[in-house]
Each structure stands twice: as C-alpha cells, then as structure tokens.
C-alpha cells in the first residue's frame, strides 16, 4: 500500500534505489568546526512525491537540502539522487547533477544587476540553449508565475512575493526532476505563502518531485503532505501530518 502512495517513509526495507528520487542511508554531516548537524539519517523520497522537512531552527533542515544539491558533502553514509549514488561524486561532475535540481532559497539569491528575464534565463544560458529556445522557455516560466509583464524590470523594484516567484521561475525553467525549496515562504505573509505552496503543488502534479524545508507548522498542517521532522540533527518523526 505504502509503496503506491508517493511519499516519504523511513528506510526499513531494502529496495531498488531506482524507485526513489532521494535516498539517504545512515547519513551524518559534521561541519568543519566539529558540529554534527545531521546524525545517522536514513530516508527515502519517491519519484514524483511532494514532502516537507520541518524542525526547530538549527535542526538541520538546510543541511539536509544542501547534501542533496551537493552544496555540502556527507561525512558518513550514502546519498542517492535519481537513482545515482552522489556521495563521492567528483567536483567536476557536480554541475551536471545540479542542472537536474531546481533550488529555491529563502533569500531568493537573485542577481540584482540583471533584469527578471536575464535572471530566469541564467540556467538555460549555463546549459547552452539557443537564443530563441531560451526566450521561449523563459517566457513560458514567467507566464506560469504571472510575471510576464515584469520581464524587463530589475528584481530590486519587485515586492518580496514577486522576487520569490522570480526565484521559482529560475528554478523550474530548465524543467528539473527535483525541486528543493529552503524556507520559500519565510518572509511572506500567510496568504502569499499559501499561493506559493499552490504553485509547488502544480509543479508536483506534472511529475516534479518536491521537497520543502519549512518551520511553519501551521502551513504544513493546512496542506497535509508527508513531513520529515528533524530534532537536533536526528530524525524525530515522520509520516502523514494529520489533515
């Protein structure tokens, strides 16, 4: 039953890694200072699933996402992304893994000296798309996020919610298999937060796996997706949040 239900579960039974978008086997992360941010984490996220990571500030939510995007490397254990063991993948190959992942940051990480269009086009420029193809895809992404009229504007002139949507447009423009969002609604009011979450649901509906870190438990309760709860770097609880 559980296997058919796209969602999160603790890694209890051994299964082919191919069925999962994300799989952690006894993963620990110790930062250079010696602080252990994640301690012996094992989890699986099915291809096409949508789930949340929650926990107190400093629980290790961001660290978990960073290990998936290879922004940080594991100290112990194995990480698989889309059926590929990326635990000790070489530095040179990391960019090609990242191109299949859309990462959305709390502080959006937009480039303020470029227009909305150029910000969203960046992943396509990096991947080497043709000019026309880039324009077509960027406009499609901006249209989806209701930003088409702002393509010539600079991010600084946009509201917080609009800036976050530009960040999302940039994350989805290259049609990633996996969307990672670190506190995407951290700076937004509840109505805007819900709007952003609905966008993630729409991407999930067309097959994109979505993993969102958030400490906004009220919002998670409303949505009723699987939740991974971290407590001081350990897995505290997991499962369907009561809907």
């Amino acid at each position: 039953m559980l296997a058919r239900d796209p969602g999160f579960r603790p890694a209890t039974s051994i299964r082919a890694t191919n069925d999962f978008m994300i799989r952690f086997d006894n993963v620990s992360k110790r930062y250079p200072g010696g602080f252990e941010a994640l301690n012996n984490i094992s989890l699986e996220l099915e291809d096409g699933a949508m789930a949340f990571v929650t926990g107190h500030s400093g629980a290790g939510k961001s660290t978990l996402l960073k290990l998936i995007a290879l922004i940080e490397r594991t100290t112990r254990g194995q990480v698989h992304v889309n059926g590929q063991n990326v635990t000790s993948i070489s530095r040179r190959r990391i960019p090609f893994i990242r191109r299949r992942i859309g990462f959305i940051f709390q502080d959006h990480n937009l480039l303020f000296d470029r227009t909305v269009f150029d910000n969203v086009a960046l992943p396509l420029v990096i991947a080497g798309y043709r000019h026309q193809e880039t324009g077509r895809r960027v406009r499609a992404a901006l249209d989806k996020l209701g930003l088409l009229s702002k393509e010539r504007m600079y991010p600084i002139t946009l509201s917080g919610g609009e800036q976050q949507r530009v960040g999302i447009a940039r994350a989805v423009v290259n049609k990633p298999l996996l969307l990672l969002a670190d506190e995407p609604t951290g700076n937004l009011d509840p109505a805007l937060s819900l709007e952003i979450m609905e966008l993630f649901e729409q991407f999930n509906e067309v097959g994109v796996t979505v993993l969102i870190a958030s400490h906004d438990t009220g919002l998670l309760d409303q949505l009723g997706y699987p939740v991974i709860t971290l407590d001081h770097g350990r897995l505290a609880g997991a499962g369907q949040q009561s809907a």
Binding site: D47, I71, R98, F103, D113, P123
Partner: protein, 328 residues
Amino acid sequence: MKRTRHNRHQSTHHWSATLRRMLSPRTWLARHAQVALDSLGRLYRNPLATLMTAAVIGIALAMPACLYLLLNNMDRLSGAWDGQAGVSVFLKDTLPVAAAGKLASRVRGWPEVAEVTLVTPEQALEEFRQRSGFADVLDTLDENPLPAVLLVLPAPEQSDPQSAANLQNKLQALPETEQAQLDLQWVQRLTAMLALAQRGVLLISALLALAVLLVVGNTIRLEIQGRREEIVVTRLIGATDGFIRRPFLYSGTWYGVIGALLAWLLVETGFWLLASPVRQLADLYQSSFQLQTLPVLLLFGLLAGGILLGLLGSWIAVGRHLGTIEPG
C-alpha cells in the same frame, strides 16, 4: 508508478538533447562570441579602469618594442659598414706632398691592399670646411693644421679583423707614418655593445612582462571579488568551472588587445617624431639610412604579446581566486 516511468524516459531524452546542443559547433561559437562581447561590454562600462590597466600593458609592450627597433636599426647601420673597414694612415706633417704621392703608389702595390686614396691637407681642409660649418673659424687660421692622410682599403679576402690588424701594424711601422688607425675598431665595439644592449632589452622585457602579469592578475582578482555573489549563484544552478572562468579569461584577453593597440600607437608616434631628425643626421653622413618600423610585423608581435600576457595574467588570477568561491 506510471508517472515515474514517464519521468525517467523524459529525463534520458532531455540528456541526449542537452549533449547534442552542447556539442553543436554553431552554438559553441555563438556562446563564445556572446561571452567575449559581454566581457568587452563590461570593460566599456568602466572606461577609466580599463584604460588604466590597458595603458600599463601598452607602455610595458611599447618600451621593449622601441628598444628592439632602435637596436635593429643600429644593427643595420653597423652592418652597412661591415667589410668596409679600412686603415687611415695619418702622415707626418713634415712629409712633402710629392713623397706622400710616392708612398701611396708604393702601398697600392702591396698584395693585401685593394685601394689607396691620398687626401692632401688642402683637400682635407676643404672638405672639413664644407661639412662642419666651421668655415669662419678655419678662415682665421694662418696655417693648415691637417696632415695628409692615406685611406687604405684591404683586399676583400684580407678584410677579416686579424688581417686588417696586421695591415695596420705594417702601415704603422712605415717611417712616414705618424699614426695608422684601424677604422674597423668602432664597428667592432658597436657590434659588441649592441649584443650587450640586446641582452639588456631581453632582461627589461622579462621584468616588464612580470609587471604586466601582476597588474592584469590584480585587476582580474578585483573583478572576481566584485562578481563574487554572481559566481556563487551560477555555481548553485549548475555552472561548470569553465563557464565561470570564461568571462574573466576574455577580460584578460581584451586588456591585452587594447594594450597592444596602445603600444603600437606609442611606437609609431615615437618613430614618427624621430624620423625627421634621423634623416637630417643621415644626410650629414651622406647616408641613405632611414628608420624602419616594420608596421605589420610589429602590430602582430605586439598583439601576440599583449594577448599572451593578458590571458596568462587572468589565468593565474582565476586559478588562484575562483576555486575559493563556493556556495555553502
């Protein structure tokens, strides 16, 4: 489960398409042209800083180029006189003109001598009067102070320095001779000095090249610092090291190109300014000598040097500073 399969199929398709796109030569060229233009645009938006860096390269390239060209010209000059080394025999001023004439024909009979010209004191004075511009001063002299001179040219097969020196000794030993002077000496000295100067130019060039590397390296380092955030963000969304490096390497190359053009302008201007005094000087020596700048070759040399230094300088900076900028 169905959705999963579909997804994975899409992803393989996606990847082969990406590979095809990246390997296509047209997109590859277009991408490089785009980055090159972007880098040039960045330099254009900071004209003062760009000109300052380019000027350092320009001056550093122009100095060795000028020195090299000057040496080259002097080399041509000394080469023109090579093999024409003769011995000037200043005769004792007590010697009558008739005896000088007889001595000239006697020396002309020697096997190692090709030609002898007798310059009488009167001829010497007349020539000196015309050439030196001291005519008025000479007119005040009661007596001709100049001695008679034999200009002795060795036979072609005897014109090497050793034979010429032997001839000089033989002429010096003549009782009529006051002094026999080998004209070859100054040519040899000039050649030796030129060889030394060429070494000096090489050394100066090497030092200047090092200075250029430091200046370009520092400029690119500042540029990298200024674009730190952009580098982090592009890394986060999958940029390779090559992609991140490229604009900085193009910046370095452009600095080299602009610097080379400035250097070319400096050298050409310098030689244009020198050309007319040199022509006057050459006229004074009844020589057809002209300064040469080899314009096309010079331009190519400067461009090659500039691009090499710019690229190398930025390469060093990129290697040292880009690796430390990682998201985290």
